[in-house]
Assembly symmetry: D3
């Protein structure tokens, strides 16, 4: 697979996992820095790691939530709660991942992670056309 | 389930996951602090989190490796590499978890995690009677 | 002491330390995740650690502020500034704890901790009926 | 150099690096804690480290951005993006520092750092009288 | 108090807290970096923070152990376990501080902190002339 | 530049910065995990970040030491102290970087970083044929 093919495959996977509504969300046009980061993330995260075989997408999502919660990276954690739901991780499984992080990374991590996950679930409900 | 039953169930699960060879490893008699920690860990980690339904043991092991690598907790990471192998996580899956942590928690995390995992695999090979 | 008694004792202590105004603060009804976290925190933090003898409550509060500041857990830090004041830690002692954290955890920690403590003190003044 | 001279020199350097507009920014009068932190920072950071010879100011700014990004200290990071621009670090160099932190401290660090830097650049543009 | 007096007072306090046996421990002559760090630590930690009134030394030791454990700074933690014992913190109180850190900073922190504290206690026993 | 060219350029740069003595150091043949990490590091760090224009190599080395010290990644920090010396960073500049990290990331970081840097300098002296 050429580098270009790998990057295209990574971009497509990013769209599948995070959803077109997120990837194409309207907003102000990106700054120079935002555009640079998007390119960097596409090449490093999606084209190099997410597209690898060896773990199911559902498992990568679980692992990613565990990493992001442990490091208290809340904006990125929220993005990947959305991705995890798209990859078939259930709300109850997210609950278990957060409790496990609470014991191994400290209880305030669980407190902040539950709040961040709640924000995503509230958003999902708000924008649900079937609501 | 009473508290006593839960703690007994947690102890039994700890033995299953980490293995009797590890739990009963010979050594100097534990200090007061070591005994206190063992009790604390049994009650907090094993009786409260590990025995919960909602995730397969194999998934809990994957998540735990992701948390411990992200936080650079290497002695505990080594213990849980052993536990992950016992819970059916393969060497190749451990490899993927470490690469994912390397991208999201920084590349030196991958470097140190691979070294820690190698120490466990070397030990496992050394003490393998079938070798 | 049975598990139930210990949990009840932990809940009562949480109310004493954080104050009824905080514990019963009005708000939207808790989400499923919030309710799960409250139960987890009551059982792990309050029923298992805070109720232990061996340290005065005032000392536990000081230690807790030091831990939460070092890890930059600001929402939880704010809750425990309030608890520390209730446990008899003075504003000047909180000042000293933050300076100590500034030297050992890095000066930006002191900057953020002073800001978080100021928010709590401003709230306390605003809602003080004797003001 | 006496302690008083060193502290005066540190204060002057702080004003040069962060700019008078920042140091004298209007606002509510500082709380007791804010005043204490300002004194602590002047004595520890500026009078003890920043005024040292051995590195150019431009290099100290680069190093400082790397430290603050790695530790996710965003409010302080924003202050020092402004200082770095004053010390002659270019926007493109800030871009490179953030990418380097993204690889060594994890990609969510780059995401949050780009956002924080964008906020500073947007502010700088807004208040630019020549705009 | 002049800067010189403050630094002298800090040095004397460091000797009181850490003990002459530690401060004057024989060894190879310090490298240039070691000498630079000793001066930096004396001026920043001891002359600026430890000598401040506002907290008892015993309380500063407790807080310091909490900070160092939370950040997993084990070599410095060991030095301050020794200092805490000298300042009147008991082994049982150190035990409580570590458990509190285990809940708020994650259980592997408690595991590593107990091991580090055990090393100090073993050393203290070995070199105790009354043994 | 094709992906292959970029990776070759990254490998060559790694050899220049870290030195052939390090890259070709004799040892046991690498494990599967070690080989996987070397490939990952070459592609992510060297071929993607280090070869970028926009910062001098000397500046990248300074920034890298600041990042690795702040995160307490000591084995990787040691590798890059060696690289920094090869890139023209002086021992006195390394000293300044460590002091700056000591103030912004906490004083134990300076203590551990000076020790790690001393190990590298001692090694360099031991193997210096001109000694």
């Amino acid at each position: 697979m050429s580098e270009e093919e790998r990057i295209e495959k990574g971009k497509a996977l990013r769209r599948t996992v995070l959803g077109s509504a997120y990837v194409d969300r309207p907003g102000t046009s990106p700054t120079k820095y935002q555009a640079a980061f998007a390119k960097f993330a596409e090449e490093h995260c999606w084209a190099n790691v997410w597209i690898r075989p060896g773990l199911e997408l559902r498992e990568r999502s679980m692992i990613n939530l565990a990493i992001l919660a442990s490091l208290a990276r809340w904006p990125e954690f929220e993005v990947h709660v959305r991705g995890a739901l798209n990859n078939g991780v259930t709300e109850d499984e997210i609950h278990e991942i957060i409790l496990q992080a609470g014991v191994y990374a400290g209880i305030p991590i669980a407190s902040e992670a539950f709040r961040a996950a709640d924000r995503v679930l509230a958003d999902a409900t708000d924008s649900d056309p079937a609501k």
